[in-house]
């Protein structure tokens, strides 16, 4: 590998090796990529050195959610196959220089990724970053197996739906006991839960029985932030952004508070505080 040259990477090596956390769910469309982006942003904003790897080869999206799509020059397979240097492939976030992205390859397939090589890459990154976050592809096939290979922690993202909980349950079984697993319940709609029209966080976790890392509301701000490519965790005024920052705090260990169940936005709050 090349010598460390550029300033953020040439910073002193972490005292201990970085943690590798895979963000996974089994089911597609529950918010893995949004979660990876926001947790990564919140961790980096708290001062940690963070690298996000998009392991969803063939369906690259993490760069879009982070607003970095125009900066991507090389991708993970370029690095694994020796066509690009790691440093050249790492894209810095616009506002958070300690946050890097290693994008997925859009024109290749998940089966093209060699598990051992990927694990080696993760291992290398753990020597240089405090956190290596991996955005896992949906499904439980080889792409999933590759994404989890180098991780010793997993965040399972689950929406309050029968299908998502079933798939999350399957994924928890596949992760096995080697991996420390925590849960983020995503896209909760408190008013529906109150009216008995949606599974509650307790309903979900009565099945999964995982340490609860956080609960994210289904709210327009998340969609708006994705439209702009500015993860909502960067929005200091947003309660959802705050929920992501607390999740980061729980990961780091600085926040020992219990995850809150999101509350409904008030009428006045909607009137004055809404994002567009």
């Amino acid at each position: 590998m090349h010598e460390l040259r550029e300033e953020p990477l040439a910073a002193p090596l972490p005292a201990q090796r970085g943690r590798c956390i895979v963000v996974t769910s089994g089911k597609g469309g529950v918010g893995k990529t949004t979660t990876t982006a926001n947790v990564g942003v919140a961790l980096a904003a708290s001062g940690a050195r963070v690298v996000l790897i998009d392991a969803d080869v063939g369906l690259r999206n993490l760069d879009i959610v982070l607003g970095l799509e125009a900066r991507v020059r090389h991708h993970v397979l370029d690095v694994l196959e020796g066509h690009a240097e790691l440093d050249a492939a790492l894209v810095s976030h616009k506002r958070l220089p300690s946050l890097k992205l290693l994008a997925a390859s859009q024109t290749r397939e998940k089966d093209d990724v060699d598990i051992a090589a990927f694990r080696g890459l993760v291992d290398q990154l753990r020597g240089r970053f405090d956190y290596v976050l991996i955005d896992c592809p949906a499904g439980i096939e080889k792409g999933f197996q590759t994404a989890i290979a180098g991780a010793d922690e997993a965040i399972v993202v689950c929406t309050p739906e029968v299908s998502a909980v079933r798939d999350a349950d399957r994924v928890v079984g596949l992760l096995g006991e080697r991996v420390k697993i925590t849960l983020i319940v995503n896209r909760l709609r408190p008013s529906l839960v109150r009216r008995g029209k949606m599974l509650s966080v307790d309903d979900v976790n009565a099945i999964l029985r995982l340490p609860l890392l956080g609960v994210i509301a289904d709210e327009p701000g998340v969609i708006v932030s994705t439209n702009k490519g500015e993860p909502i965790a960067l929005d200091a005024a947003s309660p959802t952004g705050d929920a992501y920052r607390k999740i980061a705090g729980r990961i780091v260990g600085t926040d020992t508070s219990q995850p809150e169940i999101p509350r409904e936005a008030t009428f006045l709050g909607k009137l004055f505080g809404g994002q567009r």
Binding site: R166, D169, G173, E177, I207
Partner: protein, 129 residues
């Protein structure tokens, strides 16, 4: 108005339906995923039944099937013949009417939910472990 009437006549919120469906689907997932559990259950079943009748152990089949509101255990245990009555120690042993392969569908009753939940978790532990 229609919504109100619907709610009046169908007071069960859909989250209850979701919970129930989830419970059933996971019960059946875990049973299907834990072949060792099913195998030892089958062995035990055959052992118990063999006390009363001669069974064709090689052709026994135990499966689980999700039905309308329960997960049912279906046991297909071919019976070869009766045991001699002297060996049947218990006088209360039920007489067997049909010597042909008997099918038994033992449905778990929906009432004691807590007990069954726990059983699901035992299976979950077996699967995850």
């Amino acid at each position: 108005m229609l919504e109100f009437l619907k709610r009046l006549f169908n007071p069960e919120p859909s989250s209850v339906t979701a919970r129930e469906r989830l419970r059933l689907v996971l019960l059946s997932d875990h049973l299907a995923l834990a072949p060792d559990v099913v195998e030892s259950l089958k062995t035990d079943l055959i052992a118990v039944i063999s006390k009363y009748v001669d069974v064709d152990a090689a052709h026994c089949d135990v499966t689980f099937e999700q039905q309308e509101s329960v997960v049912a255990m279906l046991a297909n245990i071919p019976i070869l013949g009766m045991k001699p009555p002297a060996r049947t120690a218990r006088p209360a042993a039920p007489p067997l009417v049909d010597p042909a392969p008997a099918s038994a569908a033992v449905a778990a009753e929906p009432k004691p939910r807590r007990r069954r939940r726990r059983r699901t978790n035992v299976n979950a532990a077996a699967v995850h472990g």
